[in-house]
Amino acid sequence: MNEQQQTLWQFIQQQAGKLQEQTLQHIGLTFISLCIAVLVGLPLGILIVRKKQFAGVVLGIAGVLQTIPSIALLGFMIPLLGIGPKPAIVALLLYALLPIIRNTYTGILGVDAAVKEAAVAMGMSKWQILFKVELPLAMPVIFAGIRTATVINVGVATLASLIAAGGLGEFIFGGISLNNTNMILAGAIPSALLAVIFDLLLSMVQKVSFKKLKRVVYAFPVLLIVLCLFYIIPAKSEGRLTAGFTPEFMGRQDGDLGLRSKYGLKIHTIVISDAVMYKAAFEKHLDVISGYSTDGRLKAYDLVVLDDDKHIFPPYYAAPIVRDDALKKFPDLEPTLNLLSGKINDSVMTVLNYRTDYLHQSPERVAKDFLVANKLWRPERGGNDGIVRIGSKIFGEQYILANMYSMLIKGYTDHEVSTKTGLGGTKICFDALTNNQIDFYPEYTGTGLLAILQASPKTVNEVTVNRDSTYNYVQRQFESRYQIKWLKPIGFNNAYALMMRQQQARKLGIKTISNLKQFLDKK
């Protein structure tokens, strides 16, 4: 992590192109939704002035929409409108409605009664009164509503990046997942500036005197539409395939940066949150996504992993790591745990994950079925020769592994077992291990290398050329630094991976990332 000692300014210079694109997307998103909100909100506001019996209902609904947390509202939109700009614009539009409707309503109601009466008494028709008297006089209040809506939209639009609609949120959320302060600020400062600038500009519009009002009324829609175009123009530059990467993947050397530098991969990329990415690929909104190679969703959505033929993703082979003193205390532990070694490859692990994550089968059942099928299962011996304590991190794959180990120990040795599953992230598990609170847990070579040993980029480059060199390096280092032993790898590699829909990959003849690059270059 220490290599990112660059200043914010350096980061901004380096990423100027991206920053500009995101800023324009952000402005576009904000104003397209604002435009539509004005087109919808203004007539609605006028309607409820005329038909007061609807005022409560309309303002009530708009008010309720406003209270829905923005991230939840974006979530509601996905099943209806998929991912991308459409649902983001709709969500932003719903947020902008309330201030516009409410201010139109109160603005028109607030017009001096004597002025309205004079207008009626002079023989103006309803529409003449609306356009010549009520709307011009309510304009400052209506503009105040538009101003509020704009500032809200600039803020909420940062969340649009989570559903692949772009905007400055890409930097903000990427920065948060990468713990990269410069990246966060490169997104946060421009979006805050946008909010302040638009607020200032609109406040000036709001204070315009009646003399200039006419010009403003004509200029404003033109300006709005120009700002909207910011979004539409960059959106045009589309390749044939679309990739969706998580913010974290976008900023990692063993992610998008590596894809660009080592493979020279140039693909139209949108940033999207992990939670909706797989489904979006399945629904053909995306063609290539970043994911984890043993994720159960691979199977659930019929995706295939592209072979990383230039090895930019460091191997994340799983193996049990055990404290040396535990191995001494339970001499039969090592051979027992090694029973599983080489038995589970990527596709097997994917299926097992699929059964727990998607079919919602219990990890015990999945573990037992596997052991039985591989003729490893033995009934419990019911021995009482000391207790082996097993730990696991807090996700399905680790639960399954912990259960398998527990069954193996009970079947093959006389030890008792206590499992401490769900120990949160790497740090909690590893601390529990070094502090003698557990005896072993399954760990991944990549995690050991990057998260625990925090190896320098140079070392990482050197040792990640193949699975054995990585394994050997972490094994050596753990032994000397922590007196912890890496047992034999279980077989599967839960690394970052690029994936595509199986059907499409087969049709286009893409098996490796190099294939993908060749395909894209042909276009």
Partner: protein, 320 residues
């Protein structure tokens, strides 16, 4: 000209106006007088259909107003509000041009008429391009009057038109109001709660209370022949001044001594009221004034002679 026939307006269970009938003749000034909540403003607003009557009918020029499209009806009736109701986002010129634009006058005609009215109302032409909030209250009220008069409607409705002005401005505007030839041709219905104003400007007065007309007649009739104590009490305040305003010189004509015309004194028409005649002694240094009736008969009177005639007239009224 205008006939209001048994008109009522109920707001829910409240009878704001209850069976009111009156007629206003051509070029007559009718004042609807009363305290707040007596129904006078509601009555006025029913005439241009700002408020629709619950019962009864109203005729202008013999035509039932309910049978006309309200917008068309209103464009033919001038309306002046207490708080002027000028459009704050329009310049003075644009404000005055509202009705001409609705009537689709050409620009030149509107400009010419506007300039004419500005002059008659003693408003500087430089005001035309400024906004109403840059003018004083009295000036705004004059612009409001110009807006109502611009299309020269035969009927003018005025809702407490001078109510928001201070006393000095108000009496100045009263004087202009009476002098304005435009208004002499108009049938005017004006609402006020100010008794002095009613006596000064009204040809006839309808005194209203609780939605009904208590008494209607000339100022003198109300003053000297009140139908009940309510009318008497209503006019009790500053009674002497009211009497001076209610009595016209023509009423005193028979009681004034026959005297030949004195050349030096200033002359007045017999149609003015006693108050104006008495006030003139203050401003003109002469001992006497000339009063002319029907162009050819002239009497020259002094202040004392006028007062003597006034007391004789009052005595006479009281015994009638």
């Amino acid at each position: 000209m205008i006939k209001v026939d048994k008109v009522s307006k109920y707001f829910g269970g409240v009878k704001a106006v209850d069976g009111v009938s009156f007629e206003v003749g051509e070029q007559e000034n009718l004042i609807l007088l009363g305290t707040s909540g007596c129904g006078k403003t509601t009555t006025l607003k029913m005439i241009n259909r700002l408020i629709e009557p619950t019962k009864g009918s109203i005729y202008i020029h013999g035509k039932n107003i309910m049978e006309q499209q309200p917008e068309i009806l209103r464009r033919g009736i001038g309306y002046v509000l207490q708080n002027n109701g000028l459009f704050p986002h329009y310049t003075v010129a644009q404000n005055i041009a509202v009705v001409p634009n609705l009537l689709k006058w050409d620009k030149q005609k509107t400009e010419k008429r506007t300039a004419e009215l500005m002059e008659k109302l003693h408003l500087d032409a430089s005001y035309l391009n400024i906004y109403p909030n840059e003018l004083s209250g009295g000036q705004q009220q004059r612009i409001g009057l110009a807006r109502a008069l611009v299309s020269d409607p035969p009927v003018l409705l005025m809702d407490e038109p001078f109510g928001a002005l201070d006393n000095v401005t108000r009496s100045k505007i009263h004087a202009e109001f009476k002098a304005l030839d435009e208004l002499k041709r108009k049938t005017i219905i004006m609402v006020t709660h100010d008794v002095q104003e009613a006596f000064e400007l009204g040809d006839r007065i309808c005194l209203m209370d609780k939605g009904k007309i208590v008494q209607s007649g000339t100022p003198a009739q109300l003053l000297f022949n009140p139908v009940n104590d309510f009318v008497k009490d209503f006019l009790k305040h500053q009674r002497l001044q009211l009497e001076f305003k209610a009595i016209k010189l023509i009423d005193l004509w028979e009681l004034l001594p026959e005297l030949n015309k004195e050349a030096k004194a200033s002359s007045f028409e017999a149609g003015i009221n006693l108050w104006e005649a008495l006030e003139s002694f203050k401003f003109n240094n002469g001992e006497t004034i000339n009063i002319s009736k029907d162009q050819n008969q002239i009497k020259t009177v002094s202040f004392e002679q006028l007062m003597t005639a006034f007391y004789q007239y009052k005595n006479h009224q009281a015994h009638e």
